[in-house]
């Protein structure tokens, strides 16, 4: 069991529109990961859908933060709040 890979768990809650990362766990395969996630992360009726993905399959950005993200810093017009939205537009 020490060799069981690590899995990341994503849960969509009842009201949620998308799956959110809630944590990780160990399991021998995908089915066990789903069942473990059910027991570890949905005990209080948190979810209606679970995704699991082996942590090894997640690729994270490793670039130096400054170069990677800073160019977006001074582009305030990219934020939706920069514009006046008509009342009819929902979910922004």
């Amino acid at each position: 069991m020490k060799d069981w890979p690590l899995w990341e768990v994503f849960i969509r809650s009842k009201q949620g529109l998308s799956h959110k990362h809630v944590g990780s766990l160990h399991a021998a395969d995908a089915q066990m990961a789903l069942e473990n996630a059910r027991d570890v992360y949905t005990r209080r009726n948190e979810g209606i859908s679970i995704w699991v993905v082996e942590s090894a399959h997640i690729h994270a950005s490793t670039e130096d933060t400054e170069a990677f993200f800073d160019p977006a810093n001074d582009k305030i017009y990219r934020h939706p709040t920069f514009y006046d939205l008509p009342d009819a537009v929902k979910h922004m």
Partner: protein, 247 residues
């Protein structure tokens, strides 16, 4: 007999819950530790409903707690299977699977009970037990059809526990009378359903069905293995020492 029949059901849930609770903090991995505790708490919830119902039906003022903590081993009516020690993970899974396969079909049949309160308890419990059966079936197959070691351990557990399985579907006096009254299912109709499920999972798990058909009995009548006394000593210790204590 109605009272005793409810004790059979309630004690099955209570005693198995206590056994599973012994895994708390000792599970093979954190994830299964939590799974065991979840199932234990489901069963404890079922035991509470069943024992409360039993106590009120008896009408002598005994609450769920009185029934759980102030009866001795010979006054418990659970099947012998559920008091069997955890031993190892394979025993725990085999015990759970044999019990779940029974509980699932039993609760399903109890939906038709003339005891309406019992039918309502069965409806709530069935949802939980459906998952328990799925969980224990999945582990039977995973270990039975796993590595050579896991197969051997699973087969050893199945062989050792087999003689305690017959009692589940062998009617006691209470089972018989309650079936006649339309309160309990006819166990001769549950037996083939249990066997079909067990045969299917054993086959999928590449496990051999034991050919020993000699079965232990007595639990439902209050004749228990030595294991129950030790277990009750631990379970009841606090209430026996400080009756009515709360925390």
């Amino acid at each position: 007999m109605h009272f005793q029949y409810l004790l059979q059901l309630g004690d099955n849930a209570l005693i198995l819950s206590q056994r599973l609770g012994e895994w708390c903090g000792h599970g093979p991995v954190l994830e299964q530790d939590i799974a065991m505790t979840n199932i234990a708490l489901d069963l404890l919830g079922q035991a509470r409903m069943l024992l409360t119902h039993a106590g009120e039906l008896e009408g002598k003022g005994r609450s769920e707690d009185t029934l759980a903590y102030f009866r001795d081993a010979h006054q418990f009516h659970n099947a012998l299977l559920v008091e069997y020690p955890n031993t190892d993970w394979a025993y725990t899974i085999a015990r759970q699977f044999f019990f779940d396969a029974f509980a699932f079909h039993n609760y399903q049949a109890l939906l038709q009970s003339r005891d309406e309160r019992l039918a309502a308890i069965a409806e709530k419990s069935l949802k939980e037990t459906t998952y328990h059966l799925r969980y224990s079936s999945e582990w039977m197959v995973r270990l039975g059809d796993g590595t050579e070691t896991s197969h051997q351990k699973m087969q050893a557990a199945v062989d050792a526990l087999w003689m305690f399985t017959g009692e589940l579907t062998t009617p006691s006096e209470a089972d018989r009378l309650m079936a006649e009254a339309g309160i309990a299912p006819d166990l001769s109709k549950i037996k083939p359903l249990w066997e079909a499920k067990v045969n299917a999972i054993l086959e999928e798990a590449t496990l051999t069905k034991p050919d020993n058909n000699w079965m232990q009995s007595g639990g439902k009548e209050g004749r228990h293995t030595e294991y129950l006394g030790y277990m009750l000593a631990e379970m009841q210790h606090l209430q026996r020492t400080y009756p009515g204590n709360e925390w």
